[in-house]
């Protein structure tokens, strides 16, 4: 038995004997994920069923100064649920999986942390609604994705999944329950965070270090009946960027993405494989949804105009035919095929990590050229994706990096490639999302000291005993 038997007893007193454990092999199952982050065993795992139990567990952790890590499916690709400290409690929230209400008129849903993308997709689809489904595992948490600034298939139109949050209920690290957004004023009203102070900011992007979110409201837009996917290829990212810039300005795509040749392979070649000379280096897709055939026609016209303009300007841009399976992968989300990591890790096996970043689109080309060198030198495929958010405001730039978890030297090789890539990225104005601890070091080395201090002050204020996922913010 690991940990303090008294703490285990107290946990069992809260949730029942069968719902808390210190068994070593169970601790092991929570000690790793698919990322390069080194495994570490927690001392306890506890399975609460409701917010009251969460509250009692948090109070216990706070009283005993025991580290507490919120967990749902552990698929964040950043080791964010792997303990940094000894004697940690992992609080597995999978059992809190109620879809409390779907408000069809106001188009929002209220959900608990354990609600998975697959579960919510079934219910929303019945009502003609959707969400920003990530290309991640269908069994992962919608709430965890949203509070970690997740990205989905509608980000091009509506922004990040955290921007879809309409209200929240949280248990603070000191045990108090708080609501933020409209539900704070009227219990049944979960439609909006604004115009109140954006207190949800205390709990989004903090990686479970500031409290436990027990419910959120999320905006669930309609599924438009018309859809078309248009695809192109270019020889260089420079050409692709220019095309995406023009397309992005029209704000017609729900998802406007390009992938390097290596990422378009299923799965990503591991180790590095040379691209055939005649294959274009970049392929793109734009998902065009519309409410009427005419709207779709207008969108297609804008696409055609963009292609003409780009070609006239000397671009290598070509319109391509997209394989049916790949087409479906764009719209049929959440996807078991993509989410199961098949497209990414099947050849490498066991692991995947990324420098996943938000980066101004006009820096993509510079970063890409350096990333390609870093990856190929380490015998890894430069499997890079770029996505425009909200027009051309900024974009996602990430390198899916498969790794073989069975061999620590291969994991370390991937980790080093990722950290080197991150250094380049940060120096070009990008910011990583869902950052593992290794990333925070690079961030803080470059960050404004005022920002670093503010992060720590906020954390100290809200979590005076530093019990929530401690260590994940490097200094806290």
């Amino acid at each position: 038995m690991a940990g303090d038997p008294n703490i285990l007893k107290e946990l069992q007193g809260i949730v029942g004997e069968e719902q808390a454990t210190s068994d070593k092999h169970i601790m092991y199952a929570y000690s790793y994920d698919m990322s390069f982050v080194k495994n570490k065993l927690p001392a306890y795992v506890v399975l609460p069923e409701n917010a009251e139990e969460v509250q009692q567990i948090v109070k216990l952790a706070n009283k005993t100064k025991t580290p507490l890590i919120p967990y749902v499916a552990g698929t964040n690709i950043g080791g964010l649920c792997i303990p940094e400290k000894d004697n940690s409690i992992v609080m597995d929230l999978k059992r809190m999986n109620r879809i409390i209400r779907i408000d069809e008129d106001s188009r929002y849903a209220i959900i608990e942390p354990g609600v998975s993308h697959a579960q919510l997709a079934e219910e929303l689809y019945k009502r003609g609604l959707r969400f920003g489904w990530p290309v991640g595992p269908p069994s992962a948490s919608v709430l965890a994705c949203a509070i970690c600034h997740g990205i989905g298939g509608i980000t091009g139109r509506y922004g990040l999944n955290s921007e879809q949050i309409t209200s929240m209920e949280v248990v603070r690290p000191t045990g108090e329950v708080a609501r933020v957004g409209s539900c704070a004023i009227q219990e049944d009203s979960w439609h909006s965070l604004l115009p109140l102070p954006l207190l949800n900011g205390l709990f989004t992007g903090w990686l479970g270090t500031t409290g436990v979110v027990t419910k959120i409201g999320i905006f669930t837009p309609a599924i438009p009946p018309e859809v078309e996917i248009v695809t192109t290829a270019t020889d260089t990212l420079q050409d692709m960027y220019k095309y995406m810039l023009q397309m992005g300005r029209y704000e017609i795509a729900d998802d406007l993405t390009a992938v390097s040749w290596w990422l378009s392979q299923v799965p990503i070649p591991y180790p590095y494989k040379e691209k055939p000379k005649d294959a274009p280096e970049w392929n793109s897709y734009a998902v065009l949804y519309a409410y009427t055939p005419k709207e779709l026609e207008a969108k297609l016209e804008m696409f055609e105009q963009t292609v003409k303009d780009q070609q006239k300007a000397g671009s290598s841009l070509q319109v391509t035919q997209y394989p049916e399976e790949a087409r479906r992968a764009r719209t049929e989300l959440p996807s078991q095929i993509v989410g199961s990591t098949k497209n990414y890790s099947k050849e490498a096996g066991g692991g995947i990590s990324w420098p996943g970043t938000f980066t101004p689109a006009n820096r993509w080309v510079d970063v890409w050229e350096k990333w390609r060198d870093i990856y190929t030198k380490r015998n890894l495929s430069p499997s890079v994706r770029v996505t425009m958010y909200r027009g051309t405001h900024y974009g996602m730039l990430r390198a899916m990096t498969p790794l073989n978890k069975q061999y620590p030297d291969q994991v370390e090789n991937a980790r080093m490639a990722i950290v080197e890539a991150l250094q380049v990225l940060l120096d070009n104005g990008g910011i990583p999302y869902k950052p593992p601890v290794d990333f925070w070091k690079e961030i803080f080395d470059r960050a404004d000291p005022g920002f670093v201090q503010l992060i720590q002050d906020v954390k100290d204020f809200i979590d005076p005993n530093n019990i929530m996922n401690p260590g994940k913010l490097l200094y806290r």
Binding site: I26, A29, Y30, Y32, D33, M34, K94, S116, E122, Q336
Partner: protein, 440 residues
């Protein structure tokens, strides 16, 4: 006879370790999901639903158990057997619901990994569980897992018109299996199979008292030595029956026997020599073929609404895995594809062929069916939980408005009826042959 079992810690190029390290911990195996449209989300892992913790949950958990058992390369842990570890290992029903979801190279090897861990437990003298030992001991003493004397095996056929294949020729051997022979509430399964065969004019025989357990129950627990003993006996019996009595088809009404003889006996070096010229079929398949050949037509009207429960061992367990062992197509050990050989549609078509029957599918069906909770030794060691899980399935069947659940496996049959009792439900499970017997 040499048996090519796969071991958890065997040093070889493409050993199980290679495959369980391919798991990415993505957790896709935790739920049955298809995009559709419409998208469908289904709970698929009985063990995970019940016990909740990772480790218990799906093949993600089983990869974790295997990695812990064989020592993690970073933690370099020394593995020790504990009662808690054994509980996690033995509360998996081996239903393969998780396997159906996985898309990674681990997929074809998931059930083998679970069974290899159990075999290691037995080899190390800590497995199976105490309650299982009665079953294993009974296999040793009586050639059946039910502690029933050998002499009682043929009791179910008393007064029936059944040919003794030990003495008379027939091309069809009806392999009744131990459950209808020793579990009184399931006896009707064998009785009605015989009745149906007679009604449609099948020439068949049985082994009577000489029948020997297929070995499935002990194999699932990891007791490989016991399995080998009965399996070798059976292979010899089958070969003799083929050579001397003209048997070319073995028919069984038990999904467990079917999977075991079809898929597990195959790993014996001499399997092909022994089974040359013999086909193994489940009753549902066998009767279906006769139906398709126009040999009979269900005539009697049955005014009833029913649903069908897919037994794991008859459906999703029966697969032809395509693995690139030599790396000539993708890379060594790559999982390329899978061909479903399971019996899914045949029982459904037979049910629907009965005049008056109304049929309604349960939410979870075919490859994404929900296990009744009886498999993998769970019914023996955790009978209350097995019934509790079956109650969940009965509840799902109730939602269809069915008046009866039809199935094709004596284990599911018994457990679902226990589940109905847990729920105080009137909904009873019967076998396909019982329904057909009424219709003929």
């Amino acid at each position: 006879m040499e048996w090519n079992f796969r071991n958890i810690d065997k040093e070889a190029e493409l050993n199980l370790k290679h495959f369980f390290w391919k798991c990415t911990a993505c957790g896709t195996c935790r739920s049955g999901y298809t995009f559709g449209p419409p998208p469908t989300f289904r709970k698929i892992c009985p063990q995970g639903q019940k016990f909740g913790f990772e480790g218990f949950f799906a093949s993600k958990g089983k990869a974790a158990l295997a990695r812990w058992m064989t020592s993690d390369p970073i933690l370099k842990n020394e593995f020790e057997w504990t009662p808690e570890y054994l509980k996690t290992l033995y509360t998996c029903t081996g239903c393969a619901g998780c396997q159906n979801q996985c898309q990674i190279d681990f997929k074809p090897h998931i059930i083998d990994t679970i069974e290899a861990m159990r075999a290691k437990a037995v080899q190390d003298g800590v497995g199976p569980l105490k309650d299982h030992n009665v079953l294993v001991q009974s296999m040793r003493n009586n050639d059946n897992p039910y502690t029933g004397p050998r002499g009682m095996r043929a009791k179910w056929m008393k007064g029936l018109d059944v040919k003794d294949i030990n003495k008379e020729d027939s091309s069809v051997l009806y392999f009744a299996g131990c459950t209808p022979a020793y579990n009184a509430p399931i006896r009707q399964l064998a009785v009605k199979t015989v009745s149906v065969f007679n009604k449609i004019g099948v020439d068949f025989g049985t082994l009577g008292k000489k029948e020997v357990c297929c070995g499935s129950t002990v194999l699932r627990l990891g007791a490989r030595e016991e399995f080998k003993r009965v399996a070798e006996k059976n292979l010899e019996i089958f070969k003799n029956l083929h050579d001397e009595r003209g048997v070319d088809t073995i028919v069984t009404s038990c999904a467990g026997c079917y999977r075991c003889i079809l898929e597990d006996y195959e790993i014996a070096d001499d399997f092909k020599d022994y089974m040359d010229g013999i086909t193994i079929k489940h009753t549902a398949d066998f009767i279906y073929d006769l139906y398709k050949e126009g040999k009979f037509e269900p005539k009697n009207e049955i005014d009833m609404k029913v649903t069908y429960h897919d037994p794991c061992h008859l459906g999703r367990h029966v697969k032809d895995w395509k693995v690139d062992w030599d790396g000539s197509q993708q890379w060594k050990g790559s999982y390329l594809d899978v061909e479903d050989k399971g019996t899914f549609e045949q029982p459904r078509e037979l049910i629907k062929a009965i005049p008056g029957i109304k049929y309604e599918e349960m939410r979870r069906n075919r490859n994404n069916s929900y296990c009744c909770g009886s498999g993998g030794g769970v019914k023996t060691a955790f009978p209350d939980w097995a019934a509790e899980n079956a109650a969940l399935r009965v509840e799902e069947a109730e939602q269809t408005g069915a008046e009866k659940i039809i199935t094709c496996c004596p284990f599911c049959h018994a457990n679902l009826n226990d589940g109905a009792k847990v729920r105080n439900s009137q909904l009873r499970t019967i076998d396909l042959v019982e329904l057909l017997d009424e219709a003929l």
